[in-house]
């Protein structure tokens, strides 16, 4: 601890630099978060940072010039001449005011002054819009009203849960059985088979997609929950098995011997003894697998395809990026909906998550 208190001067510098980096790291997410609560028109008009107090031009008064003012000639406003072009762009006077056409035909000029202001208008409409399937009215920047169909992310959210929960529990359970057998049961070719299982860590998903897709199509598994569970299970197994093996194989031998003495079978030992003992490592790999499945895009894209009933969040959002690329009110809210679950898991279970990540660094 001593070295950390040693230099007061450099500590300021360290805190400053680190604080700056943290700010850079968090700003993109903060921008998304703030924007998701802003009205649709506002998002497209002004940057999200304008919700914070800032100096901006505010119209103070309006001036009406004589109707017969010739726009081709220099236009005189309070004793100074300006061109039409200048007034279109807005021009700053010597008193620090800004003059800009409010209505060119009506010869009305806005006189603006720099003032502190905020664009802090917030709404929950974006969330209502993406979560519900109903139609919503959106007031656009020019005042007109656009009817938009909600994108019903609620359904996608439920789908993602339905995909992610079994696709987490099933592979971890299967891997735990296998890890136990590799660690504590004797059978022919145990070592060789284990090495093959670990070697499968290198296989990138892409290699497996097409042949598996063809099998799934033949079996009618394509676009079904069972299909996507099987896919995630298979792709998650090498890592889960490897991870759990390294834990289960380290358990003390006496544990098993005394249990065997009492006449317990392997199955009983596994379910009554090993599973409860392995909870920390199962939690780590489980969280890792859950986040992986929840955040996955490629596997869902290939095996769910365009089945609207089974579509998961990541697919819906990627689709929205394509079809409503500029509807930031929808995109920001939708992305945040998809982030709620992983962020909750992350903040609640950070310790396990970090451990799973360290072990999970070799996922293929």
């Amino acid at each position: 601890m001593k070295r950390r208190q040693k230099k007061k001067g450099s500590k300021w510098l360290v805190n400053g630099i680190l604080g700056f980096i943290c700010l850079i790291w968090i700003i993109p997410t903060a921008g998304l978060f703030v924007s998701s609560f802003r009205p649709a028109a506002d998002i497209l008009e002004t940057g999200w940072w304008t919700v914070f107090p800032h100096k901006g031009w505010e119209t103070e008064e309006q001036m009406t010039l004589p109707k017969d003012t010739d726009l081709k000639e220099p236009i005189e406003v309070s004793g100074v001449n300006y061109s039409d072009e200048q007034l279109k762009q807005g021009v700053t006077t010597t008193e620090g005011q800004k003059l800009v056409w409010q209505n060119r035909r009506g010869r009305i000029i806005d006189v603006q002054e720099k003032q502190w202001k905020t664009n802090a208008v917030f709404t929950l409409d974006n969330y209502k819009n993406v979560l519900g399937g109903k139609n919503y009215e959106i007031t656009q920047s020019d005042g007109s009203i656009k009817i938009e169909k909600g994108s019903n992310l609620t359904r996608a959210f439920v789908n993602t849960l339905t995909v992610a929960i079994p696709a987490t529990i099933i592979p971890v359970l299967i891997a735990a059985f296998a890890a136990y057998a590799f660690a504590w049961m004797k059978f022919a070719g145990r070592k060789t088979i284990f090495v093959i299982v670990v070697a499968l860590l290198v296989v990138p998903l892409q290699v497996a997609l097409i042949p598996v897709l063809q099998n799934f199509t033949a079996l009618g598994l394509n676009g079904t929950y069972l299909g996507i569970w099987i896919a995630h299970t298979g792709f998650g197994l090498p890592l889960s098995t490897y991870f759990l093996y390294s834990y289960i194989s380290q358990l003390p031998r006496d544990l098993f011997e005394s249990a065997f003495m009492d006449g317990a079978s392997n199955f009983t030992i596994f379910t009554k003894l090993i599973l409860p003992l392995s909870v920390p490592s199962i939690a780590s790999i489980g969280i890792f697998q859950f986040l992986w499945v929840w955040n996955d895009y490629l596997v869902s894209l290939v095996f769910i395809g365009s089945q609207p009933n089974v579509q998961v969040l990541s697919m819906r959002i990627a689709e929205m990026v394509g079809s409503y690329g500029n509807d930031w009110h929808l995109l920001t809210a939708a992305s945040f909906v998809s982030m709620i679950m992983p962020l909750a898991v992350f903040f609640a279970l950070q310790k396990y998550f970090v451990r799973g990540l360290m072990g999970g660094s070799v996922k293929g």
Binding site: L44, I165, F177, Q206, T224
Partner: protein
Amino acid sequence: MGTWISRHKWLWLTFITILVPTMNLLIHWRIFIFLRDGDLTPILYAVLAIIWGVVGVYTIYLSLNWVVEQYSVKWRQRIQPLIFVGPALILLGWLLLYPTLRTLILSFMDESSVDFVGFSNYAAIITNRLLLSALRNNLLWVVLGTFSCVSMGLIIAVLADRSSFEKLAKSIIFMPMAISMVASGVIWKFVYYYKPGDEQIGLLNAIVVALGGEAQAWASFSQPWNNLFLIVILVWMQTGFAMVLLSAGIKGIPEESLEAARVDGASEIRIFFKIMIPYLKGTILSVTTTIIVFTLKIFDVVMVMTGGQYDTDVVATQFYRQFFMYRNNGYGSTLAIVLLIAIIPVLIFNLRQIRKQGGGFS
């Protein structure tokens, strides 16, 4: 009498050995068909599906194990391990091992997988402009992305170690790891957003304009430099990972060696390069290899940001396009194999490193 019982037992064993797996298969297939074709409300459907998925797997093990428990001790000991590892091996064989071999074969076939074409797909990878640019971009990702992630991670880990808000800083840097790449894509698309006109709503363009520059459409302007703006997203996501592991390594550096160097009057920068980096070598290597593997397979970010347009294709996106858009199985498979070949040495190295550090199989 004894022989009659053993014969009877034998019949019984045969009976259950056939019946239980068959029943399992039939029952689960029936449930599958019911769930697939049934017209249920989404919530009910989800609940039923989750229960079936989880309980189903457990009952398969339970019932098969019950059958094995009926056998004599000698046979039980032989067969039981198969029940335990069997499901894992079947799934792995079906979903990973067999597809890898098949993809390997397909990579030597023509686009519709009919004729054998030898190495011509592999030759195409280095001659076809699309495939070549995907390779080049992927290389750019691996080199620049990995280097930036690891060096940023190292710098932040060192700074955090000496700061007064270590935990908070680490949480903030680490948080993007939990966010999906698709959502990260949206986050950064918004940062890079370009709108013709003077009021910019994308942060980057607003800063550029405020500094007197000109707003740009960053993801599509001057190629291939636009790739850099996509790589930034990777750095944003993966630096946290590097930082967590390196930070754990830094905590392990013995205080005395740092103290001794300070007493000798070594500057902090010198200590960083002469003591910390050599000490962290192992961790740096395994972090680097892990990020390389991750980066080689990068897909979602590119797909969401540009869809591979504007010359931003990488191997994984080009693979997707070859298979699903151009229907060229040959090129697609070859790209997948190229990925595999690129990953193998890195991963072997990584596994060795992990083993050396005492984790896992030994």
